[in-house]
């Protein structure tokens, strides 16, 4: 069916029904699970007719680690370390998503400062994710310099995270009802420096690739996803927005502090790899706008929910210097005390860099979730892959795969 929608004329025996019946002459090519262009461990069985891809069979599960099962055994605060390892390209966004769902279940209202801080780190995570995703699309289609520009800026964001919480990659930054560390003046200064220097790099990156003839030829009209297919197939995030679905949870279902900011949703209508690239590039600029507004209006006051409510772990200073802090920390760490968890279930989703990242958390009154379902955006995007690649050439596989930004750790969990 996708063969017909291919913009290029397909002169292929495989398109003829009588030839398609005997598929003996079709090549079968095993792509992955260990291939540099799959970026992670996923496998595609491609049926080729010359260089044309007639069909693709995606296989997954090579990185299945039972994250949802582990989620039923770790406490709400411990599980954040596992959420880091889902989409490890932007771990901060996963941290925010997990505790967003937990707080919805527990009914915790965050402090204004915490909302802003989480918004800032989520947007930094979005920028770093888009940098790598677009960089990888460039890399796979032959633009190595572009990738290095992006990765250098990712280093700067890693550096901010390291200053913030001590970890570069697996941050585990959020806590129930708060975050592990408050912003220090140094962190704010580093983010400000990033905000000053990054737009120039972004301009350079756009000049390098956006009108590059080779890149445009490789991505334009490749892997076209129509708006109806995007909705029917459950696509979300930049993939859906590049197909004209104007859905962004930051606007449509505002969480954290997104209601306070002035920013725009980036959409395209052509739905090809090039549109997905453009949407991601533009989203980074919108993220910068959010970051600037959030930093300028960062509220003061406490970052965590107060120790009297017994919902957030108190800081080290509170534990060692106040009796309330000691009691609160002791009770929250005890198995039979802890949080007051309702015997209820809640779903909360965030607009992660890749799309709608949601958690369906079931509480049974205990200290850990009864069920911690993660709704990964990559799973639904990967299911769309055969539809996007049919009729294109083998070299387009990497362009489509890269533009969907499938992270196997999040895909398989």
């Amino acid at each position: 069916m996708a063969i017909a929608s291919d913009p290029r004329p397909l002169v292929s025996d495989a398109a003829r029904p009588d030839a398609a019946r005997s598929e003996d002459y079709l090549w079968t090519l095993n792509f992955g699970p260990q291939h540099p262009a799959t970026h992670t461990t996923l496998r595609l069985v491609l049926k080729l007719e010359g260089e044309r891809v007639v069909d693709a069979l995606p296989e997954m599960g090579y990185l299945h680690s039972g994250f949802e099962k582990i989620g039923e055994h770790l406490t709400f605060n411990q599980y954040v370390t596992v959420s880091d390892r889902m989409n490890y390209i932007s771990p901060m966004a996963n941290n925010v998503a997990w505790h967003h769902a937990v707080e919805k279940l527990l009914g915790i209202e965050l402090t204004p400062r915490c909302k802003y801080i989480r918004t800032i780190i989520a947007e930094l995570a979005r920028i770093s994710d888009h940098l790598l995703c677009n960089g990888a699309v460039g890399l796979d289609t032959g633009a190595f310099t572009f990738f290095l520009y992006g990765f250098y800026q990712r280093e700067v964001i890693y550096d901010i995270f390291e200053t913030l919480c001590g970890a570069r990659f697996t941050n585990s930054y959020t806590r129930v009802g708060g975050v592990s560390q408050d912003f220090t003046p140094l962190v704010i200064e580093k983010i400000n420096t990033f905000l000053r220097t990054f737009p120039k790099t972004l301009d350079d990156m756009e000049r390098l690739l956006t009108r590059n003839r080779i890149f445009v030829d490789r991505t334009k009209g490749v892997g076209v996803l129509s708006k109806a297919d995007a909705i029917n197939g459950g696509a979300s995030g930049p993939v859906a927005r590049a197909s004209g679905v104007t859905r962004d949870l930051r606007k449509d279902d505002p969480y954290l502090a997104y209601e306070d900011f002035d920013f725009q949703i980036c959409c395209a209508s052509s739905g090809d790899c090039y549109a997905r690239y453009l949407v991601r590039m533009q989203e980074m600029r919108e993220s910068l706008k959010i970051l600037r507004q959030a930093l300028d209006n960062l509220p003061g006051g406490p970052v965590n929910v107060g120790i009297d409510q017994r919902t957030a772990l108190p800081t080290k200073k509170q534990v060692y210097s106040t009796i309330e802090g000691t009691i609160s920390h002791f009770e929250l760490s005890m198995g039979n005390r802890g949080f007051e968890v309702p015997c209820e279930e809640a779903y909360a989703a965030t607009e992660a860099p890749n799309g709608e990242l949601g958690f369906y958390v079931v509480g049974d009154g205990g200290e850990s979730a009864y069920r911690a379902r993660c709704r990964p955006p990559a799973l639904l995007h990967f299911a769309l892959f055969p539809q996007l690649i049919r009729g294109h050439t083998l070299s387009d596989v990497v362009a489509v795969l890269g533009s969907l930004n499938i992270i196997a750790a999040e895909l398989d969990r």
């Binding site: 055994h73 015997c343 779903y347 709608e356």
Partner: protein
């Protein structure tokens, strides 16, 4: 049918034999996006009457409303109707539920395991499946250098 609300989220409990009809009705009434299909095993849950609770998270791209549809099924042979005819996105989501919970979807075009290997016999997200210690490795064929 039973409707409850928790923290602003509306849930609708639908009898298993009516699930496809109701979900089709909801899709035609504007819930055009199937966000997620998942399942909860209520084996050890206090007050639960039926063991498996399917969760369909619906959303509307026009109005941004959300709705959770619950369908409860029980052992043995838990089966619900597949919603792949309504939403293409249900295909892999239902395969994952079959893989990890062992719920059969009648009318599914391609009900294979998704994340576990095909030789796997158990359904690991069920509550009676232990976190560790079962040792599934003996179920797999051992390939030696001579076989290769």
């Amino acid at each position: 049918m039973d409707t409850t609300t928790f923290r602003g989220q509306t849930r609708l409990v639908v009898p298993a034999q009516m699930s496809l009809e109701v979900l089709g009705f909801l899709r035609d009434r504007g819930f055009d996006l199937l966000v997620d299909v998942t399942c909860v095993d209520y084996l050890e849950y206090r007050g639960a009457k039926q063991r498996y609770g399917m969760v369909y998270l619906l959303a509307s791209t026009a109005t941004n409303q959300r709705l959770t549809v619950r369908v409860f099924v029980d052992d043995p042979e838990p089966t619900v109707a597949s919603v792949v005819p309504l939403w293409a996105s249900a295909n892999w989501l239902e395969r994952e539920v079959w893989d990890l919970f062992g719920i059969r979807f009648s009318g599914h075009p391609d009900l294979r395991r998704l994340v576990m290997p095909e030789e796997f016999t158990a359904h690991p997200l069920r509550k009676d499946y232990p976190m560790q210690g079962r040792g599934e490795r003996h179920n797999f064929p051992i390939l030696t250098r001579e076989d290769g």
